[in-house]
């Protein structure tokens, strides 16, 4: 009975989340499709043909996994941060607070909503990439699991950002000043072996590097880092962020006076 209530509550939240990003698809699905197509054309085709090989692959082939991952990261994060913030802003978070839905279901519902958008956009970008290059799959299990875990992780990040946010500016700060730089420096466009040794070391503290490389490993079979270690890091972040987000919900940070 308890389980049934929880399942229904969870699917209700997820359905509402999906309905939201589909309703505003012009803001949620279309822009990443356009941006990524531009990346494919400019970096992959035009510039890429001059760069030649990267990590033993065509430049286009090399950046496609990175760009897919970038789309998954920004969209998972973006979905939860704006959805939860607007839920707070419009006060309809109160619909959930008065109801018997436990916090972990609320959190899980928003995370699955973020995953849904991140993965859908990832899929769209993957399909678009097929117009420019062929995709092989080196290790399906690694590829799928790292993309799932990454979208969980960044959905959680978006959730925590939204809890702390007090204005629409606050929800743009992290994506602009942290997420985008880390993604660009996370080996989407280059192999860190190109960097001087010092900057290689610095790059290793960037968590996004691990996700991008693991995903690329799943597709191409090449990686700058140890894949097992990367999974460990990702899982550690997920557990940490999930626990912290639940704690924030429990004390009602930003949602209950």
């Amino acid at each position: 009975m308890r389980l049934r209530d929880h399942t229904i509550a969870l699917t209700t939240i997820v359905r509402r989340e999906v309905r939201r990003f589909l309703r505003i698809w012009m803001q949620t699905l279309l822009p990443p499709a356009i941006t990524m197509t531009l990346y494919f054309i400019i970096f992959g085709n035009l510039i890429g043909s001059r760069i030649g090989e990267m990590g033993g692959y065509d430049y286009m082939e090399y950046i496609v996994p990175g760009l897919i991952m970038m789309a998954v990261i920004t969209n998972s994060y973006g979905n939860v941060v704006s959805s939860f913030y607007s839920t707070k802003f419009q006060r309809n978070i109160e619909e959930l607070l008065v109801s018997p839905v436990p916090n972990f279901i609320i959190l899980t519902g928003f995370v699955i909503g973020g995953m849904a958008r991140g993965l859908l956009v990832g899929l769209i970008v993957t399909c678009l990439s097929l117009f420019f290059t062929q995709l092989q799959v080196h290790n399906l299990g690694v590829m799928v699991s790292v993309v799932l875990l990454t979208s969980v992780l960044f959905s959680l990040g978006g959730f925590i950002n939204a809890i702390y946010a007090n204005s629409f500016d606050d929800i743009a700060v992290v994506p602009t000043f942290i997420l985008t730089p880390l993604t660009y420096l996370g080996g989407v466009f280059y192999s860190i072996s190109l960097l001087p040794e010092f900057w290689q070391k610095v790059s290793l503290i960037n968590p996004i590097l691990y996700m991008v490389n693991t995903f690329r490993y799943g597709i191409l079979g090449v990686s700058d880092i140890n894949v097992g270690f990367a999974f460990g890091i990702i899982l550690l972040f997920i557990v940490g962020l999930y626990t912290y987000a639940l704690y924030l919900l429990r004390i009602g940070k930003g949602i209950r006076h």
Binding site: R4, H6, I8, A9, T12, R16, R91, E95, P100
Partner: protein
Amino acid sequence: MTQISTELATETTASGAAASAGEAIPKALSIRGLTKVYDNGFEALKGIDLEVEQGDFFALLGPNGAGKSTTLGIVSSLVNKSGGEVRIFGHDVTRDPVAAKKLLGVVPQEFNFNQFEKVGDIVTTQGGYYGLSPKVARERADHYLQQLGLWDKREQQARMLSGGMKRRLMIARALIHEPKLLILDEPTAGVDIELRRSMWAFLQQINSQGTTIILTTHYLEEAESLCRNIAIIDRGEIRANTSKRELLARLHRETFVLDVAPPLTSVPRVEGYPLELSGDHTLIVDVEKEQGLNSLFQQLADLEIKVVSMRNKTNRLEELFVQLVENNLQ
């Protein structure tokens, strides 16, 4: 045979004793020593005690900023309490939130739905939060939207509704899980007179079917015509908490307005009643409770002044309310 009847007998006595001790029937709402200090240090509730019986129609009255919404916010888990205890049908809101929340429906003072969602979706989604299957949720949503006159708006985004419709949407949403206790924070604010009457009728119907109702309002005639029991709160403290009848009985004098004919040019001389002329055919008179009106009518009749009609000057409850709150100012 004998044994069974003895057992039955003991059982009946036991439950009878419990009922008479007032333990078998938990209060719909029981608040003890509730305090609230907001983060900025403001003490909004200074130790409130309140009990609402099952089946009651209860009004929580008080001036702006008295602490009504804060109290109801704590009851509905929207505001963290600083101290004290809140129970809904015996279930502690903090220790047993699931049981407590399932019995409670909340209509808040401010609109708190997603303006961009469809009216029907808002109500059914809420049902999902309470574990109603999509089918049941939709059926019930349809039912309540129909009852509240929002059926033909169900496919519209909530932002397209008028203010009064938005309030009714929140009522439909609060009823989706058929709560036993419904709390409404100023449900009729900004609702026109006709609609207010139909909302009253609707609430009375729900109440007669067994739902306990607690509402706050600034329209005292609303409390007077709907509610059986009333509490008045002011600056975080309960000033009065009793039945409406008892509260009204506290009024010692009442002011009546008499429409008279023929037109008067001066205040008529009447023994024992202070009269005031307002316009040329309206008399205003203060009457002590035990005094009665017979002598007044008699004397007016002797002066050949005809009383065409008569009404209370102000809402009676309003007067009392002002007294209670003003006394406190001094």
